[in-house]
């Protein structure tokens, strides 16, 4: 059995509430939770720190609003890799593995877990670099399968339902004005032409008042 690893996220960074000023500039008010010590399912602590740092350069926290750090993207990716997605449960993985042009899609043998494990080796010490150095390191791997996957998973972790471990406090949804699943937009769909309509976000379990089991928690 593997040694237990944890990722510690400070209350100042994980989740929080977005507040918009009159000129629609977003600022983040930290949630009042205590620091979270989140048990990792797949990554080692160092790997998780590197993934968190890299995701933060792909989707930075800046004056336009929160990013991968506040959304807890690294936690999301860890859960996904530990589950069926990470081991390619639903991909066709029969040999032979042949090269083909990009129009035929990913043809590799490596699962997302293997791609991360291998890709992270090239980013040793990444989380200790200053931001400019981090960007430079990412530019060097920009065309790799690993980077494409990390970028895609970062977007997923920004905007997934919070039950998957990302989009903490629905910061991603608040950032772009997505309200989450809503039972009805019947009265609003033909109103608000040309003006922003921004209902307060609610997650799937809040909307349905049920505990929903995400696929990564299935046995």
């Amino acid at each position: 059995m593997r040694r237990r690893h944890f990722l510690t996220l400070s209350a100042a960074t994980l989740g929080g509430v977005l507040v918009y000023s009159l000129d629609r500039k977003a600022s983040l008010v930290a949630s009042e939770q205590k620091p979270s010590r989140i048990p990792l399912r797949f990554f080692t602590e160092t790997e998780a720190l590197i993934v968190a740092a890299a995701a933060s350069r792909i989707f930075p926290s800046d004056d336009s609003g929160p990013g991968a750090r506040e959304a807890g993207v690294a936690v999301y990716i860890d859960k996904q890799l530990a589950a069926s997605y990470g081991r390619d449960r639903y991909r066709y993985t029969q040999p032979p593995f042949e090269g083909a042009s990009p129009e035929f899609g990913y043809q590799g043998k490596e699962t997302p877990r293997q791609i991360y494990r291998e890709g992270l080796k090239a980013l040793r010490g990444f989380h200790l670099l200053p931001p400019a150095g981090q960007d430079k390191a990412l530019q060097q791997i920009e065309s790799s399968v690993f980077f494409a996957l990390l970028r895609q998973n970062t977007i997923e972790g920004m905007f997934c339902d919070p039950m998957h471990g990302g989009n903490a406090g629905m910061v991603g949804w608040q950032l772009i004005g997505f309200p989450g699943p809503r039972m009805s937009n019947f009265d609003d769909v033909e109103k608000h032409y040309g003006e922003a309509f921004r209902p307060k976000p609610a997650s799937l379990s809040q909307v349905t008042r049920k505990k929903i089991r995400p696929s990564e928690d299935e046995p």
């Binding site: 336009s64 991909r91 066709y92 029969q94 129009e103 920004m158 009805s184 040309g194 349905t208 696929s215």
Partner: protein, 586 residues
């Protein structure tokens, strides 16, 4: 192998076509019927808490499990095919209801001349206008013959829309280019999300004829002739890749399954993976039944006197090839029929438009859309345009979800990650819409399906191999559509526009449509067709093939109403004629 007691009819595949046939034969006859569905059971109540983009739309929970079976692809016969290892350009469903559960419920009819494409085109432009290597055929059924069945489909589904041609009278506000309809739609059009309204107004200002998309997601409550009641759409936006939370979207599980479940003469077996159709070739050619592997792994023979193959385009073709039924198509000689006439659809994000104002795109439905048919089929003066046929342009008001749609930025933004990109993408997220195009795909001798020599499914049977690429007709059509889409996007006051890149080679990674057709085409002669115009196998008269695999070439629109209309027509022919005197119907 275990042999089960014989039944009157076996239906392979429990999607739209298979379950409609089960409902029709199950309620109109006393035949004992077994439906074999290899996927999981599904019920409308499954979807009440399924509005999760990640599990459903990104990980594609409702689609075929490709670890068990996929297809291989090459662009031409000189290439070595590789498997499509993940979902991409199309998304076949799995489980009871099949792709009919997760569709967007756009519900148009095909244009009348689509059914007589070879004769009408030759008549008008001469045989020399057709591409040299085409394999276009007439369907062997006309629009007028199919019209009453289309009307039954509209009523079954409760389609919401506005007629543009009622018995020959053109009506502004509907699609004036459509074939004559005998009746108005059962329910009025859906509401119009803002982006679709922008398109409507711009298209009108340019002199085009925008119309609300026919939608099988109901605009209001409706009870169909079978007594099935559904409520209207709430515009939650979770349609394509999802089952409907409130049952407003027509799905096999809402319209067909409840009736089938009440019939004692119909049995639905899930987890039943059909491997072969067995048949006798002498003295009298007929199918005998099917072998399948059940959920426990046991191999079973189910004898039947009447067989329906309705398992979507790929498996319809593959099961005939695996079973050795009919002559496989050989592109070198043009001999054989099984696997020929593979078509997809020309589908592009013709113009991705960026706007100053927010669009509130989370509200909508998969079929709340505005289209124009001004460049569809052959309805327009094509002058010296260097291609045949055309398609529809439109603006979809489907609910935007963030994982799939975040990150699209104008071409003026050069980065795809980091702060500059993020700021642009955040600002563009709800200010972006695509004027989309879907166009006809002609059939060619070089686009076909056969069995792959290398790759196997979970049981060791060969995968289906697609040989598929675009030809100049599609490339030029797409270029034309892009120019028109840009014109409309400008009239919508877009601030920036990303034109679709030109079509080059078939790209399996870009979702296009789940409308892949052909392989077991219908037609008036066994020389070129696998089934006759009643979808009855030319050599084995007790075998019928249902679904898009019977389309000789693809039209520009969504195929479900046409598949259902053809299925109704076959059901009538079986009840009225075949059961009284089993034998060839044509």
């Amino acid at each position: 192998m275990k042999t089960l007691p014989a039944v009157d009819a076996v239906i392979i595949g429990g999607g739209w076509a298979g379950l409609l046939m089960a409902k029709e034969l199950g309620s109109r006859t006393a035949l004992s019927i077994v439906v074999l569905e290899r996927g999981v059971p599904r019920n409308p109540s499954d979807y009440a808490d399924a509005m999760d983009e990640l599990d459903y739309a990104i990980r594609m929970r409702m689609m075929q499990d490709l670890s068990q079976e996929t297809v291989t692809l090459r662009q031409n016969a000189g290439q070595r095919a590789v498997p499509l290892r993940q979902h991409g350009s199309f998304q076949p469903g799995s489980g009871v209801g099949g792709s009919g559960e997760h569709w967007n419920a756009l519900c148009p009819r095909f244009l009348p001349d689509c059914f007589e494409l070879l004769s009408r085109t030759t008549e008008k432009y001469g045989a020399r206008a057709l591409p040299e290597d085409h394999s276009i055929h007439d369907w062997g059924v006309t629009y007028d013959e199919l019209e009453p069945f289309y009307t039954r489909v509209d009523k079954l589904l409760g389609v919401s829309g506005k007629a543009g041609n009622l018995k020959g009278e053109k009506i502004e506000g509907g699609n004036i280019f459509e074939g004559p309809r005998s009746e108005e739609y059962p329910t009025p059009p859906t509401k119009v999300p803002y982006f679709a309204a922008l398109f409507r107004d711009a298209a009108k200002s340019l002199g085009y004829h925008p119309f609300p998309a026919p939608s099988a997601t109901l605009s209001q409550a409706y009870t169909n002739p079978d007594g099935i009641s559904r409520g209207g759409c709430t515009y939650c936006g979770f349609c394509g890749r999802f089952g409907c939370m409130v049952g407003a979207k027509a799905q096999p599980t809402t319209l067909l399954l409840p009736i089938i479940q009440k019939r004692k003469n119909v049995v639905l077996r899930t987890g039943a993976w059909v491997r072969r159709i067995l048949f006798d070739s002498a003295p009298k050619s007929k199918a005998r039944g099917v072998t399948y592997v059940d959920a426990t792994g046991e191999e079973i023979f189910q004898p039947a006197s009447l067989l329906f193959l309705s398992s979507w385009t790929f498996n319809n073709t593959r099961l005939l090839l695996l079973s050795g039924i009919g002559e496989p198509y050989d592109p070198a000689t043009g001999d054989g029929t099984v696997g020929s006439n593979l078509t997809h659809q020309v589908s592009t994000n013709a113009a991705t438009a960026f706007f100053e104002q927010p669009l509130n795109r989370f509200m909508g439905s998969g079929s709340a859309a505005t289209f124009i048919g001004d460049f569809d089929g052959d309805v327009f003066d094509r002058g010296t345009l260097p291609f045949l046929r055309g398609g529809t342009l439109g603006a979809r008001g489907y609910g935007f979800q963030p994982i799939a749609n975040f990150g699209v930025v104008p071409h003026s933004v050069k980065s795809s990650w980091g702060s500059e990109w993020k700021k642009a993408a955040v600002s563009c997220y709800d200010r972006t819409g695509t004027v989309g195009f879907t166009g006809e795909h002609l059939a060619y001798k070089t686009n076909f399906m056969d069995l792959d020599p290398t790759y196997k499914d979970k049981l060791g049977d060969p995968l289906l191999r697609l040989t598929l690429d675009w030809h100049d007709n599609e490339r030029k059509m797409a270029d034309f559509a892009t120019a028109k889409a840009i014109e409309i996007a400008r009239a919508m006051n877009a601030t920036e526009i990303n034109p679709s890149p030109p079509l080059r080679h078939y790209d399996s990674t870009r979702y296009q449509t789940t409308h892949v057709q052909g392989g077991t085409i219908m037609g008036t002669s066994p020389e070129h067709a696998v089934v006759n115009p009643y979808l009855q196998h030319w050599q084995l008269p007790n075998l019928f093939v249902l679904g898009g695999s019977t389309f000789p070439q693809n039209a520009s629109m969504n195929p479900t109403p046409t598949i259902l209309a053809l299925t109704y027509r076959t059901a009538d022919a079986i009840v009225d004629r075949y059961l009284k005197d089993p034998g060839p119907l044509a």
